[in-house]
Assembly symmetry: none
């Protein structure tokens, strides 16, 4: 799943999981009928207790966009209407931007410095046609 959650943000993990999954559904990365990871497998991936994931799933279930079934698994039921999806998507992107700057700040970089690095990254991507490999200069 590769969900990005921040243990140091002060935002409860279960709420972060709710948001990240809503974003994936809004971005059609998860379509109706798709099965979500089991509470245990996602918990293992995120290194948290599976009850924390279960709590997130329960919230999503109560809002009706997924369906959790004991013994079977959890499945996506509805995708929000296009205009709502676009709004969620926009919010997800600005939120991602905010998190990125916050992470950069923790590494001692000002927003300006990090923005420069991001620009370089785009330039490199335009040259090579792909995002640079994390192991490229080891």
């Amino acid at each position: 799943m590769n969900l990005e959650i921040d243990f140091r943000s002060g935002i409860p993990i279960y709420l972060q999981v709710v948001e990240r999954i809503r974003e994936r559904i809004a971005a059609s990365q998860l379509a109706p009928g798709d099965q979500l990871p089991t509470v245990r497998s996602l918990a293992l991936e995120l290194r948290v207790n599976f009850n924390t994931i279960a709590r997130a799933y329960r919230i999503l279930d109560e809002t009706g966009i997924i369906s959790t079934q004991q013994g079977r698994g959890t499945y996506v039921t509805n995708t929000p209407p296009p205009e709502a999806s676009e709004k969620i998507r926009q919010k997800a992107l600005t939120e991602l931007a905010r998190r990125s700057f916050a992470d950069a700040e923790r590494l001692g970089a000002s927003p300006e410095e990090f923005n420069q690095i991001l620009k370089d990254q785009v330039a490199h991507w335009q040259q090579t046609g792909r995002l640079s490999n994390p192991d490229s200069d080891n």
Copy 2:
């Protein structure tokens, strides 16, 4: 832990705890990822109230060298502090940039679109003097 605290020194207990733990980390007796004692267990050991330990932990958390997580515990921080070597810092920043674009792509945004959003975020930061609040429009 066996922290040396002097109750008669006149120096507040929570400040002594802060100093003792800083020393342990500086001496690599506590490594990144290591879990510190819970506020209650350390309080029991030192015969003080656990709020006093919590206060010490909060100070260390604010300086970024440990991370306290409700319900989970407190851990020595993994990410290198800003004063780490420039090379490591640069590498961490480019890796962060790469991951950010990958996440944006997962949300259905091209690098160009996401870059625009990043620029807007910097502009907004320059206006308000802070990175925008995650809860601003919930």
